[in-house]
């Protein structure tokens, strides 16, 4: 259980003159669940974008399952076993809920186009399996009755769940959740915490969650670590209790950002 699955080493990225991520290192064991928090603009989503290679880091290394994934295309990274959800929902709005999930299931080609058109038994069987799997995933996030609804017609909370199902469809080993509770009320947050915990327990994914709702973070990370990012740098790492009592973290969140660390305890 304790083998390292993801290791980020001295990751730095500059956008023009702005250092968005500054010398961040972190490592994750298989099956671990960590929280990634920090004020707006701290570089949290940028780290996700670097892991899925939306852009290249200025320096540093990202090792996934023992190999460097820098320079691999997003679809290669997906097939290696990394999937994500988005801060701003990025479903395929014109497609049905089912099609959104089905798309993720097709990431590994298993039969040829000719087989599909002739409908060989093998292609038919794989398609039946795909259908079954898609419905299982929709069931898992409680969307079975909305399978044929357009993604855009679903209420906001359900769209978030659908994004989770789609991310799971690619059979990831590492699942990146970017503010899954954004825009949700207390009750919805509670349901979401349950759902994410259930996914983590049953699927065995390694997960990183970016989140601003502190209740959600503290609850889901109660047995694990929270990483705090501020102005692109790692500010603190610790259990929820440690993080809540860390003066640097409190200062960063209260807004005294620029010189926060220079005169700590001042």
């Amino acid at each position: 259980m304790s083998e390292e699955i993801l290791s980020i080493k001295n990751l730095t990225v500059d956008f023009g003159g702005v250092r968005a991520v500054n010398d961040v290192s972190l490592s994750l064991r298989k099956g671990e669940f960590i929280g990634l928090i920090g004020p707006n603009g701290a570089g949290k989503t940028t780290i996700f974008n670097l892991i899925t290679n939306a852009f290249q880091p200025t320096s540093g290394e990202i090792i996934f399952k023992g190999q460097s994934i820098l320079g691999k295309s997003p679809d290669q990274i997906c097939r290696l076993g990394i999937s994500r959800t988005f801060q701003n929902i990025r479903l395929f709005p014109q497609m049905t809920a089912y099609e959104n999930v089905e798309l993720g299931l097709h990431s590994t080609p298993r039969y040829s186009l000719a087989e599909a058109f002739i409908r060989t038994p093998r292609a038919a069987r794989i398609e039946a399996e795909t259908r079954k799997r898609a419905h299982e995933l929709l069931e898992m996030v409680n969307l079975s009755q909305h399978a044929n609804a357009r993604a855009s017609s679903l209420p906001y909370g359900l769209q978030r769940r659908l994004e989770l199902a789609r991310a799971m469809a690619t059979s990831p080993e590492l699942l990146l959740l970017d503010e899954p509770a954004a825009g949700m009320n207390e009750d919805e947050c509670k349901e979401l915490v349950q759902l994410i915990r259930q996914i983590h327990n049953t699927m065995g994914y390694t997960m990183i969650m970016i989140e601003h709702h502190m209740n959600v973070v503290m609850d889901l990370c109660r047995d694990s670590l929270i990483y705090v990012l501020n102005l692109g740098s790692l500010l603190a790492v610790g259990s929820p209790a440690e993080i809540q009592n860390n003066p640097d973290v409190i200062r960063a969140y209260l807004g005294e950002r620029k010189n926060g660390r220079d005169n700590a305890h001042a």
Binding site: P74, F86, F92, Q94, L103, H106, L113, A116
Partner: protein, 291 residues
């Protein structure tokens, strides 16, 4: 009445050819957001390959068609690999993609011109005897051209909506980056899209060549496909087909009842009138549904 039915059948047939062209544009536009100006060169290329296969190699029509489709696919995919894909990899603005496409177009059309010269040639198939139903004569060429075009469109629809490759293309047309994050190989999608483009342009080129003539600038007709897409509603495949049908029928009616001289005048007037009353085209809501 006879004339009306004859012109209607002919109009549906030419509308079907316009549909192939309009759909070919819409496919590339919906995924890559640029107008593939090279498309009309692909069409002329496809027609000339079929022309040469029959007139010089004396192949039967179906074999010439097959060779034309295969070679046009290779041409379209090569254009993507050599002219478009490198620009995309460097994140070039879409205007540059369009200019690159114009370059591909000029190159191909001029090469054809060098080899064959600019003259109009008759497509070397024997004229099929029209079928008579009462006094109505219906061109068999129209039936074949229209019929095969519709079969190609139906196969395309089945591919897009009934296979996982189609699902990947549709997802890429909505959001290409998210699609790739979900495991869709962008290069694979590009090959699929340009393969479809090759098929559509080759079939359209052959039938257009049979109906009218084969010449290097024959791709100019794709302007009609653009009008058809705009009339139908930009960016949607069903709308492109509806627009093509309306335009095809309008043109043959004008040719039949007024004069073929005024055909194109009416096409463009029609476009202006439609845009005055339906600024988004007849079926255009917004550019929501792209495929």
């Amino acid at each position: 009445m006879e004339l009306f039915i004859q012109q209607l059948v002919s109009g549906i047939s030419i509308g079907a050819i316009y549909s192939l062209l309009a759909v070919g544009y819409a496919l590339v536009y919906s995924v890559y957001n640029f107008t593939n100006w090279a498309f009309d060169a692909f069409m002329a290329f496809g027609a000339f390959i079929a022309f040469t296969s029959i007139s010089s190699l004396f192949l039967p029509f179906w074999a010439a068609g097959a060779i034309s489709i295969v070679l046009t696919i290779i041409l379209a995919v090569s254009a993507e690999k050599l002219a478009y894909s490198p620009l995309r990899a460097r994140k070039a603005p879409r205007l540059f993609m369009m200019i690159s496409a114009m370059g591909v177009n000029l190159a191909i059309v001029n090469i054809i011109n060098l080899i064959y010269g600019g003259t109009f040639r008759k497509f070397p198939v024997d004229a099929l005897q029209p079928i008579f139903i009462g006094n109505v004569s219906i061109g068999r060429t129209d039936l074949v051209a229209g019929g095969i075009s519709f079969v190609v469109l139906a196969l395309l629809w089945a591919f897009l909506y009934r296979t996982r490759w189609g699902l990947g293309v549709r997802a890429s047309s909505i959001d290409i980056l998210t699609a790739s994050l979900m495991g869709i190989n962008n290069n694979g999608v590009a090959i699929v899209v340009f393969t479809l483009t090759g098929i559509l342009s080759s079939v359209a080129g052959i039938f257009y060549g049979i109906k009218y003539a084969v010449y290097p600038m024959m791709g100019m007709v794709t302007i009609k496909a653009m009008i058809a897409s705009i009339v139908g509603g930009l960016g949607s495949l069903p709308a492109a087909i509806v627009g093509s049908m309306i335009l095809g029928i309008l043109e043959t009616m004008v040719s039949g009842y007024i004069s073929s001289t005024y055909r194109d005048l009416f096409s463009f007037l029609f476009l202006i009138v439609i845009l005055l009353f339906f600024p988004n085209g007849l079926m255009g809501k917004s550019v929501e549904e792209k495929l």
